[in-house]
């Protein structure tokens, strides 16, 4: 009898271990997570930015043609301002070995694109890459937002990535 009771207890304990992850999975599926962009890697401060945070930062506009050739006006924050907030080695610090540093942009669908820091810094280029959260006065939707990288002046918009989720700073080495 005691033996059966012990088995019963063991079964309850085992089931609890099965039920808890199941419950957590369902809870996660129901409780939707707010989209955000994290900034990490070789930074002084890790950041997690949502739409509200971007609205508090310096705002600029940039124009980008879609693949059909139609021009759209995007609004957002210069990527260098975001990187400055994280303490990335830009501007006067962008020399010597810091010139081998890169920005890796990760997107919600797994897509990734890369820039050298010098491609983004205003002492090297007049091109202003922005992290946009508005297009033609509206939120960016249809699987392209809520955060899209906008890289003006490129012949193919392949680095103007949709659904940006992370900005990662690293050092290239061989």
């Amino acid at each position: 009898m005691i033996h059966i009771y012990d088995n019963f207890n063991q079964r309850i304990i085992r089931n609890i271990f099965l039920i808890i992850p199941l419950f957590l999975t369902i809870s996660i599926a129901v409780a939707q997570v707010e989209p955000s962009v994290i900034v990490k890697g070789e930074v002084q401060r890790h950041l997690t930015l949502d739409t509200t945070d971007l609205l508090k930062m310096k705002r600029v506009k940039a124009t980008l043609n879609d693949r059909g050739g139609v021009s759209h006006v995007y609004e957002g924050v210069p990527i260098t301002n975001i990187l400055d907030s994280a303490g990335v080695t830009l501007h006067g610090q962008l020399r010597g070995e810091n010139l081998s540093k890169y920005l890796l942009v990760k997107c919600g669908d797994g897509y990734q694109v890369l820039f050298s820091l010098a491609e983004l810094d205003e002492s090297f280029t007049d091109k202003v890459v922005i992290l946009a959260d508005r297009v033609d006065g509206k939120s960016i939707s249809d699987g392209r937002g809520p955060f899209r990288l906008v890289v003006p002046g490129e012949k193919v918009p392949a680095r103007s990535s949709f659904e940006v989720t992370a900005l990662i700073i690293g050092s290239a080495k061989d």
């Binding site: 999975t25 599926a29 989209p35 059909g68 797994g110 699987g143």
Partner: protein, 368 residues
């Protein structure tokens, strides 16, 4: 006389020292671990080097050999009736030909068994990418009640009691004390070696095979090798997501199977609404061997798959923007392939079958 004695005494002393030295050397060599031989994987340069290895689990000949045994070891399942190899059969490019697989308890899995091909280039595993790294991936099938259903500590104890395993763990990891972590490490080592790079398409890329006209048209259609003059939707081709000669880059998309997904896919793991109905874009290497297709195995043939992308894509809030873009530019649903184009693409997909991969004894069941 005393001088002779001295010399003889000296000889004895030297001889004894030599014997002691040899005994010590023998003892020292006896205690040396067997050499753990590192393994470097070979693959074509056109696969690229964006590979995922674990510096804490370097590949060795002994680790890979142990991993292969464990892959086919039924003692790792709760009822001793299935191994990894039961649902991942080599002749089917490590799938099982079923919509859903039967676990150790006779219950079915909720998603289709994925092909184990070129995993060296995968970082986030499963249809929804929930497990980072092969060492973490194997935890799920090993312990899921509807798969192998056995906790790792139980598996470790079972293997410890089988005389064949402790010495092999000692060879692979320097200890005969078997742990769950070492089980996952050995499995990961074996699975990283499952490289398929000798299909007819590879032979074509290496200048050793001349594809037929239909196969060449299929290659052009698949990768969008044409033509600025072609309509825009045609330039958004299969290769946009199934990219490059590997026919794989790690992406997750809603490919328009349903307007409202029963299985929320990646959203279950991330909690993001944007991930509803989003699943892995799979490698197409050996795809002709891995029917049925999609996360729920709904399509029985490659022809059905091509028909889906051509004519039956369903609109939804999270439909891949690349598929939607193609539709926006044509005002029609899907890629609208002609009958000939469908046939050409299927003929190309058959070029990706690698018979040397599915017959390679290095990957086959060592218990048969």
């Amino acid at each position: 006389m005393s001088k002779t004695k001295k010399i003889q005494g000296g000889k004895v002393y030297v001889f004894a020292t030599l014997i002691i030295f040899l005994l010590l050397m023998q003892s020292a060599f006896h205690n040396v671990e067997p050499p753990n031989e590192p393994v470097k994987l070979n693959y074509p340069a056109y696969f690229g080097n964006r590979t995922y290895e674990n510096p804490k689990n370097p590949l060795t000949k002994q680790g890979i050999a142990l991993g292969k045994m464990l892959f086919y070891e039924k003692a790792l399942s709760a009822n001793g009736n299935i191994s990894c190899g039961s649902c991942h059969q080599q002749d089917r490019a490590f799938t099982d030909g079923k919509r859903f697989s039967e676990g150790t308890n006779g219950k079915l899995t909720s998603r289709n068994a994925m092909a184990l091909v070129n995993l060296l280039w995968v970082d986030n595993f499963f249809w929804d990418g929930r497990s980072k790294g092969l060492e973490n991936q194997s935890l799920v099938p090993l312990t899921d009640p509807h798969e192998m259903g056995q906790q790792l500590d139980v598996s470790a104890r079972k293997l410890q009691s089988l005389t064949k395993y402790p010495p092999r763990f000692k060879e692979a990891f320097g200890t005969d004390k078997i742990t769950g972590a070492y089980i996952t490490y050995a499995l990961a080592q074996f699975e990283r070696t499952l490289i398929s790079a000798d299909s007819k398409y590879d032979q074509y890329l290496q200048g050793k095979y001349q594809p037929a006209a239909s196969e060449l048209r299929g290659i052009d259609l698949f990768f969008g090798n044409d033509k600025e003059q072609e309509p825009l939707m045609r330039r958004r081709t299969c290769g946009h997501c199934h990219g490059g000669p590997k026919t794989f880059s790690e992406l997750f998309h809603n490919n328009g199977l349903d307007s409202s997904s029963q299985d929320l896919g990646r959203a279950i793991f991330t909690g993001l609404a944007a991930d509803n109905g989003r699943f892995r874009v799979v490698t197409l290497r050996n795809i002709a061997l891995t029917a049925p297709y999609m996360h729920d195995g709904r399509f029985k043939t490659l022809e059905e798959v091509i028909d889906h992308y051509s004519d039956h894509i369903r609109e939804s809030a999270t439909l891949s923007p690349f598929l939607r873009e193609a539709m926006e530019n044509s005002n029609k649903i899907g890629f609208q392939f002609t009958r000939q184009e469908k046939e050409d693409i299927v003929n190309f997909l058959h070029l990706l079958t690698d018979s040397s991969f599915v017959n390679n004894p290095a990957f086959s069941d060592p218990f048969k």
